[in-house]
């Protein structure tokens, strides 16, 4: 019975981990290229969640269609925020960009609250489920997991096989050298910021495919916290590392629950957090650059 539960939780952890990973790639991309820590990260995820809700509830379409819509909204928001403030703050103290991204988060939260009120919303996207014996997995979660993997692969291909992706990598490697070689560094900064925000907003859609309730303007806080942990696990400046970190975090969170549940007197859910952060601390001590180096 315990082994069955452990297998079930680990499997669910992998599925959840891919979505966590996807939800963190944007954060790592922005930090990797611009060295800007987006503390408003969770609010962008929230925008994606509301996009998914609106596409499903008002247009009657599957949340899958909301992924490109959310990505487009995210890219547009990224461009607006970059050219309105981040660009001017890049050479300023780190605290300035930190406060700016915090402000973006608050603006988005209150803006969405104005449009949708503070109700906890959700939708019922039921595709059925598969009983695997040791666990039950809804197809909506399978779709979220596959969507995350596909987007991660597409990002990998874009970075490695396209000229624009390689130009962005060159800016990360050596900004001055890239400028000398004719790369428009300012445009690459704008593109990477908006791409990072686009990925983050799109990940909000995937999260609603995983859990389609609890959508409200202030839902982002918890995801911001988790995204930072996942990003540090995988290597803060590496989007692929973030994806890998997400998988590790999902496994740690879900797998450790079963183990802690065997110890009388312990509240296993509280202990999973303790365990996850303990592992994070150990990784920081033993491998400060994260499990994967920036790439």
């Amino acid at each position: 019975m315990i082994l069955e539960q452990l297998a079930g939780n680990l499997f669910q952890g992998v599925v959840l981990g891919t979505v966590y990973g996807m939800a963190t790639m944007g954060l790592s991309l922005i930090f990797g290229v611009l060295k800007v820590v987006n503390v408003g990260h969770g609010a962008f995820i929230m925008v994606g969640a509301f996009t998914s809700f609106a596409v499903f509830e008002y247009l009657g379409l599957s949340p899958v269609f909301a992924i490109p819509v959310a990505f487009g909204i995210g890219m547009a928001l990224g461009m607006i925020f970059y050219y309105s403030s981040i660009r001017r703050l890049l050479k300023g103290p780190e605290l300035a960009s930190l406060l700016a991204t915090f402000s973006f988060g608050v603006i988005l939260e209150e803006g969405v609250k104005f449009l949708f009120t503070s109700d906890f919303r959700g939708f019922n996207w039921d595709l059925g489920k598969i009983d695997m014996g040791f666990t039950v997995l809804p197809y909506a979660k399978v779709a979220a997991c596959l969507g995350s993997v596909i987007i991660a692969v597409l990002l990998y291909l874009w970075f490695n096989k396209t000229r624009a992706g390689m130009a962005m990598r060159s800016v990360v490697e050596d900004g001055v050298g890239a400028r000398v070689c004719g790369v428009n560094v300012d445009w690459e900064y704008a593109l990477s910021f908006s791409l990072g925000i686009g990925l983050t907003v799109a990940s909000g859609v995937l999260l609603t495919m995983f859990v389609s309730v609890g959508i409200n303007p202030y839902m982002g806080g918890e995801y911001t916290l988790k995204a930072f942990v996942v990003a540090v696990l995988g290597g803060l400046a590496s989007p692929y590392g973030a994806f890998f970190g997400g998988l590790v975090f999902g496994l740690l969170e879900n797998g450790s629950y079963t183990l802690f549940a065997q110890i009388p007197g312990l509240e296993p859910f509280a202990m999973t957090r303790f365990f996850s952060f303990l592992i994070l601390l150990l990784i920081l001590l033993l491998r400060p650059t994260g499990l994967l180096k920036a790439k």
């Binding site: 019975m1 959700g122 019922n124 009983d131 809804p138 202030y218 549940a261 859910f269 509280a270």
Partner: protein
């Protein structure tokens, strides 16, 4: 004779002066301060509470004619700020309301933890602190003297639910408790567990989850293995929605599922649609309850406030939306009504005197009964149980207030 007349003259002058001084001391409005949760995790309930307070103040000022103190009818006024559902903001806003805005009384913010955060500040200034949405029993074990509760105590939330289920199916004994690790839910489950044991239930699963959870799969897989007949759990709306959806995802079918502070909100069913059918939850008030002035007077109870329909109309006007009030609005309204009655009874705006007057105050309003014990805890209000049936919320307990029979066992998740 001259001496007597002189004495009478002196006494009249003293009384006249005293009355003049009292009248001069009375403000031209009585201000209720409120650091309410209008953003953050408790915003939804906070907005309802503000609507309920505004609606009741309008009724007091227009229909009741103001609050009668010292022979004068004084209108109520309302000063509120957004505490962002943050405990630290509650304390600083309370300081502002008391020392800068000079409010006469305080309405606590929604939720047990926010109410508890502000209680020491109200205590420091000796100002009456009306708890409309803090249900935890812990609030009343700290020795606070100025806090008065309108919402019922947490430990009694699920007692009616268990009585109902015991009556319906005495053979269903395996009970699982899965709830949020916060002040309110812990308090509720403490009372639930004690009552369940008294009724002979076997607690086969008991676990908490963190307040900001976004995946309950490990806990629910664990719970599924314990094969419960009945699941009682939750804490607030977001986790209540999550608990129900993920129970459906994992195919956990039980005979009954009752969730705290979530089920009776329309947002619960709006999000879950058919999955909400058969899910029930305790509530302090729902539209449709049958408390009325006629019934109260017939039972020789003191009645105060608008009728249920009058309150709904005032609430909609107050918030400027065609939205039906939920129990968060009704309990805040009842808290204002209790304050009005107590001020009139004490004939004073002094918090100590008003608090003393509240001690033996008993009344009925559209919200139901109201009475407190020595600690300020609500003891006069009975809870109801509601259940979603084919997309409609019906009252299933107590039998006297039920609008429909309990659907049992709970239908499978759709």
């Amino acid at each position: 004779m001259k001496k007597t007349m002189f004495l009478a003259l002196i006494l009249s002058a003293v009384f006249f002066c005293a009355a003049t001084v009292l009248a001069a001391e009375l403000p031209n409005k009585i201000v209720i301060g409120n650091p309410e949760a209008l953003s953050g995790s408790q915003a939804k309930a906070g907005e309802q509470a503000v609507g309920g307070i505004k609606a009741t103040i309008k009724w007091v000022n227009t229909v009741h004619g103001g609050v009668k103190v010292g022979g004068k009818k004084i209108p109520l006024d309302y000063k509120f700020y957004d505490c962002e559902s943050k405990r630290e903001a509650v304390t600083s806003l309370l300081e502002r309301l008391i020392t800068v805005d000079k409010v006469n009384f305080i309405m606590a913010p929604y939720s047990s933890s926010l109410t508890l955060a502000g209680a020491p500040v109200a205590e420091k200034y000796g100002i009456l602190y009306m708890d409309h949405g803090g249900a935890s029993d812990k609030i009343f074990t700290q020795g606070f003297r100025y806090i008065v509760q309108t919402i019922g105590p947490g430990t009694r939330y699920h007692t009616g639910t268990l009585d109902m289920l015991k009556k319906k199916d005495p053979a269903a004994k395996r009970l699982a408790l899965a709830y949020k690790d916060d002040e309110f839910a812990r308090s509720v489950m403490e009372g639930t567990e004690a009552h369940a044991k008294k009724l002979g239930y076997e607690i086969v699963f008991k676990r908490t989850y963190p307040p900001t959870v976004n995946d309950l799969t490990p806990l629910l897989s664990d719970m599924k293995a314990s094969r419960p007949d009945i699941v009682l759990g939750g804490g607030h709306l977001a986790d209540g929605q999550l608990l129900t959806q993920q129970m459906a995802d994992l195919g956990i079918q039980t005979k009954a599922l009752s969730i705290l502070a979530a089920v009776t909100l329309p947002a619960f069913q709006n999000a879950l649609k058919g999955k909400a059918d058969g899910v029930m939850g305790p509530s302090h008030w729902e539209y449709g309850v049958t408390f009325s002035k006629e019934k109260a007077l017939k039972a020789k109870q003191t009645w105060v406030g608008p009728s249920q329909d009058e309150f709904v109309k005032l609430f909609k006007e107050a918030i400027g939306m065609d939205l039906r009030p939920e129990y968060h609005a009704a309990e805040a309204a009842a808290a204002v009504l209790s304050l009005v009655l107590a001020v009139e009874k004490a004939n004073s705006l002094d918090s100590d005197k008003v608090r003393a007057a509240m001690g033996d105050l008993k009344f009925t309003s559209f919200y139901g009964g109201w009475a407190i014990d020595k600690t300020g805890m609500q003891v006069g209000h009975d809870m109801i149980d509601a259940q979603w049936q084919n997309g409609k919320l019906v009252i299933v307990w107590p039998e006297a207030a039920a609008t429909s029979a309990l659907q049992y066992p709970k239908p499978a998740f759709k």
